[in-house]
Amino acid sequence: MESAAVIEILQSAVPGAAYEVGHNVDMPTIYVPAGSLVATCGALRDHPMLQFNVLLEVTAADYLPRDPRFEVVYHLLSVPKRQRLRLKVRVGANGSVPTVQSVWRGAGWPEREVWDMFGIVFDNHGDLRRLLMPEDWEGHPARKDYPVQIRKAAQTYEPLEVSEAEFRANIERDRLKRH
């Protein structure tokens, strides 16, 4: 089943949603607007021709400096139809996405991880706490503007603080290395 065929089925189930076919090499990919995500996921799970009964993972990618900056990515699997599907939701720097826990219960932790790593808020999540990072951690490490290594002398008693200038210098040093 191609992306366009899935969109055709979806448009009859979720009227008014603007879907978009995503470029892909491996499986159908659909861009879904954040507003109609939950209704779309419900239709994907329950429509007899789709039956996407497993949410394999939720992740994100940071496309800084592009705007909107983030893409939240959902990988779905339909065991009865032997079909895979990728959903993508574009999110701005301060945007949010609704949680899909009402459709697949297993979305809770992957969404928490995405918040933890990228700082993308999931509305109505109910338990949006740090998952992999310590509870008191500041910042979201998987963001592209999060410095990879900060060179600082070891501090034992004062909390580790990085000035704006040091932060920028670290990013610049990184970028130079990259190319």
């Binding site: 470029h23 892909n24 090499v25 491996d26 499986m27 009964n53 497993v54 949410l55 394999l56 993972e57 992740t59 990618a61 940071d62 990515v73 990988h75 699997l77 065991v79 032997r82 895979r84 990728r86 697949w104 219960r105 297993g106 979305a107 809770g108 932790w109 992957p110 991880e113 740090r130 998952l131 992999l132 990072m133 310590p134 490490p141 998987a142 999060y146 990879v148 990184d174 290395k177 990259r178 190319h179």
Partner: protein
């Protein structure tokens, strides 16, 4: 009563921490805390060249190293549009299956040990030693061989590979019988596992659990059959399933899987010639043979470019799943068209299994928690990444 279990607890398979709310011996609620083994591998991978990521992803699920790297390598090859020679696919299949056996052996040993059959660990680890010896043979490294490379394999098979694998395959089925003789009809083992931690298929799918846990609930979903890769469709093997969904069913499914893996390995080893192609012929990715580097200018330049700048991968994204020992290991990669990944993400089966843990053990006995963790076969390196 609140009981804190872990992170330093021998039966939590590493550094999983569980906060248990108890009523007598019955579990009211469980709150898992993870992240103690979070090493930021995905972030680190973004700083490396494509080929340099292979050793990194192997260290995620440290008991199934080659299953991780296979998913990563296949994902990059998908974006590059490479197809592998038949021999490379066959070697990858055999190593992936041996990796599954190695991982299942650790699962069997630790799982049985935690619920009382201490000697199982010694028997299982003894067999795993032979598999680690094979890793040492092909790569000089027992745990993380990094033998799979984007574009093929690191080098050709060493002399003695066929003999080592065949010797293992001849020996191992008898050992599975021995393991089963110790456990399958063992009354104590069955009392600790039958009816414990039962899960329905619908719940398993709701929690995103695929792989052996779902197959113990009656699903026949296996990536190798549903979405074949590396030529798995040409092998004759079955997908073992059970319907009870409890700890004992997962035990039976995994043990039967070991027998099927042996079957696949036997077929694969017959197809592999001792020497032959070990990489594809795409000169963008695979360095030229050494004798050409010494004699031809073009080959020398290509060699230098691959080892200094690496190769670039067309912009785009790909998700490639493989059937790992714990379920679906999927690798999602994003490329911006440069010589380094923009994003690498592994789908971690253990992550989903730990998320589902509270709903599986709720209402059960505290001693069952240990049995369920063991039967879910969680690896914290895989979970925290």
């Amino acid at each position: 009563m609140t009981v804190n279990m872990g992170p330093q607890h021998p039966s939590t398979h590493g550094v999983l921490r569980l906060v248990l709310e108890l009523d007598g011996e019955f579990i009211q609620s469980v709150m898992p805390t993870i992240g103690y083994l979070h090493t930021g591998i995905e972030k680190t991978a973004e700083q490396k060249k494509w080929q340099q990521v292979v050793p990194l992803v192997e260290r995620m699920d440290y008991l199934a190293a080659q299953s991780n790297s296979l998913a990563y390598v296949l994902a990059v090859e998908k974006l590059l549009g490479l197809t592998m020679p038949k021999r490379v696919d066959d070697i990858r299949v055999i190593l992936a299956e041996l990796q599954r056996l190695a991982s299942h052996l650790i699962w069997l040993g630790t799982h049985a040990m935690e619920i009382g059959a201490v000697s199982m660990l010694f028997y299982a680890v003894r067999e795993r030693e032979l598999l680690l010896n094979i890793n040492e043979l092909i790569a000089g490294f027992r745990f993380f061989p990094s033998y799979f490379r984007v574009g093929g394999l690191r080098e050709d098979l060493p002399r003695g590979f066929h003999e080592a694998v065949n010797a293992f395959l001849d020996r191992f089925p008898g050992k599975i019988d021995e393991f089963e003789g110790l456990l399958t009809k063992n009354d104590i083992f069955r009392r600790r596992t039958e009816g414990v931690g039962a899960l329905t298929l619908e719940d398993a799918f709701q929690w995103g659990l695929v792989g052996p846990i779902a197959r113990a609930c009656g699903s026949d979903y296996d990536v190798r059959k549903y979405f074949p890769y590396c030529g798995y469709e040409s092998y004759d093997f079955q997908i073992p399933t059970a319907t009870e969904g409890d700890v004992y069913a997962r035990y039976r499914v995994r043990v039967a899987e070991m027998r099927e893996s042996v079957k696949i390995c036997r077929q694969a080893i017959q197809r592999i010639s001792p020497t032959g192609a070990f990489a594809c012929d795409d000169t963008r990715v695979v360095p030229p043979p050494k004798d050409k580097v010494y004699t031809e200018m073009e080959a020398l330049i290509q060699h230098f470019l691959i080892y200094s700048q690496g190769f670039t991968v067309p912009a785009g994204d790909a998700y490639v799943p493989v059937e790992g020992p714990r379920g679906e290991h999927g690798c999602y990669i994003v490329s911006d068209g440069s010589n380094r990944p923009w994003r690498v993400k592994m789908r971690a089966p253990s992550f989903m299994a730990i998320q589902a843990l509270p709903s599986i053990v709720k209402g059960g006995l505290i001693a069952d928690v240990v049995a369920v963790i063991g039967s879910n076969d969680v690896v914290m390196g895989d979970c925290d990444r």
